[in-house]
């Protein structure tokens, strides 16, 4: 059983494919910057920082799965999408990846485009689409929010892992032949387990925040206009 982590390091995927994905990631992030500027107010700025810090911290906790040295970590795309929205959310995850690549050597700098595509773009996008769908159909209760958070986190992790499979298929430096399907299966299986952990953490975190400070949950503000946020623009500064 091989060991997989989500941060692709240098040399796993060939240069041209990495370059194509870097261009793709850059284009998407540019869009996020343009759209995110509108979202980032006095409430979202500290939240974006905290979400990034939180993801950074939990990504540092690599945890072993199975007995055979397979390790994985949380990705955070769903948490980011729920709390700060898809645009700023993708930026948060991307910032984490950039800083990790630059100063921790976690994920190769040359592979940054691939990592950003998988975790920041695919992961966040998949999560947000599901969130948008589920919040509309599920009841407006903490349980509904918890299910939304759990499912979107789980799915986003699996989707992100399949991004790696796609990239490896396109430009893996070693031809795995028939083992590619095996790689896809292993990645999906491992990340299903990671996704359950990620789903639990995302759900409890978001439900805790929503209970005390519903005004802080972007998804609830943006997708449930029926429950208007308080008129105050900057919330809860006083202690």
């Amino acid at each position: 059983m091989e060991t997989l982590a989500m941060h692709i390091s240098n040399g796993i995927v060939n240069g041209p494919v990495a370059a194509v994905f870097a261009a793709f990631a850059l284009a998407v992030l540019t869009l996020c910057v343009l759209r995110g500027r509108r979202d980032l107010d006095d409430r979202l700025a500290p939240m974006a920082g905290l979400v990034a810090a939180f993801i950074f911290a939990v990504q540092m906790l690599n945890f072993p799965i199975f007995t055979a040295g397979v390790s994985g970590h949380l990705l955070g795309g769903a948490l980011a999408a729920l709390l700060v929205g898809p645009w700023v959310g993708a930026l948060c995850v991307a910032v984490v990846l950039v800083v990790q690549a630059l100063v921790f050597g976690d994920g190769g700098v040359a592979m940054l485009g691939l990592n950003v595509t998988n975790m920041a773009v695919l992961g966040t996008a998949a999560a947000y689409l599901l969130i948008a769908l589920l919040l509309r159909v599920l009841p407006r209760t903490p349980a509904g929010l918890a299910v939304t958070a759990f499912v979107s986190a789980l799915v986003s992790v699996v989707v992100a892992s399949q991004g790696f499979v796609l990239q490896y298929w396109l430009g893996g430096t070693t031809d795995l032949g028939g083992n590619l399907a095996g790689l896809a299966g292993t990645m999906a299986g491992v990340h299903l387990l990671i996704g359950i952990g990620e789903g639990l953490i995302t759900a409890t975190t978001v439900v805790t925040v929503a209970k005390v400070r519903p005004d802080l949950v972007y998804a609830l503000r943006a997708l449930r206009p029926a429950a208007p946020a308080p008129v105050v623009p900057v919330a809860g500064g006083a202690r």
Binding site: G49, L50, A57, V98, A101, I201
Partner: protein, 256 residues
């Protein structure tokens, strides 16, 4: 709570590498890595050249080999992946010590280990010689959009807030008779995480508002930008590493 400008990997020292403006170091490190990745995997001598280059910069920066190698362990999962490749790879096989290994897999494994390690070492050298604040200043000078540097600034600061609030919560618990060995032994890891998140947010929000009260407008004041942007001379000095690497890479491409 503090903005911990010296992260865990920073090595306090004064060296020519430490003094180089951050934007130069970031650009050099990124270009170096790109050159390494672009090198054909069979040009073994080229990787030796890169290793010498890394060693030279490490010596200049007064970073010891022991420190570098122990910190490079972050790469371990991918090294294991690389070790598995010779078994998984398709195509022609060779016999090594009684095992039938894929030639393509062996080369692929080597490719990952060599390029991955060089990339990790390069970023560790950047980390060892650059404070997080300088890193952000560097990104800012490289025209990174302000929203990104702002998120990065807050992220680095909130890491301290998270750690600080986690410490406070632990002190609060143990002094009232609780006995958790780890944060996640609280009544469920997740519940503790949710509470910690909220606490850290509210603390950070108040700090942010207090910063606004003192005139913060999304960007750290210009005095923070250290000694000023890099001069042409500094850019030239910094360019030597990626230039040498590019030379090696070009030769390697031409030869294979």
């Amino acid at each position: 709570m503090g903005a911990g400008h010296a992260h865990v990997l920073y090595r306090e020292a004064t060296s020519p590498v430490h003094r180089l403006p951050p934007e130069v170091k970031i650009a050099a490190m990124v270009l170096f890595t790109l050159a390494v990745v672009a090198t054909p995997r069979t040009a073994f001598w080229a990787f030796g050249g890169y290793a010498l280059l890394v060693a030279a910069v490490a010596a200049l920066a007064r970073v010891g080999p022991g420190w570098l190698l122990s910190r490079a362990a972050i790469e371990l999962p991918f090294v294991l992946f690389a070790v598995a490749l010779p078994f998984l790879g398709a195509g022609e096989r060779v016999e090594v010590a009684g095992l039938a290994l894929s030639v393509d897999g062996l080369l692929g494994g080597w490719n990952i280990v060599a390029k991955g390690t060089l990339g990790v070492l390069a970023s560790l050298l950047l980390a060892a010689t650059t404070t997080t604040r300088d890193l952000i200043v560097g990104l800012d000078r490289l025209r990174c959009p302000q929203i990104v540097t702002q998120i990065a600034t807050f992220m680095l600061r909130y890491l301290d807030v998270l750690v600080g609030e986690a410490r406070r919560m632990r002190v609060a618990r143990v002094s009232r008779g609780d006995d958790p060995r780890f944060l996640w032994q609280l009544r469920g890891f997740a519940a503790g995480v949710g509470a910690l998140f909220l606490r850290a947010f509210e603390r950070g929000e108040r700090v942010y508002l207090a910063m606004l009260s003192r005139g913060y407008s999304g960007r750290m004041p210009a005095v923070w930008q250290g000694a000023g942007a890099a001069s042409a001379g500094q850019w030239l000095v910094g360019a030597t590493v990626p230039l040498v690497a590019a030379g090696i890479a070009a030769t390697a491409v031409a030869l294979t």
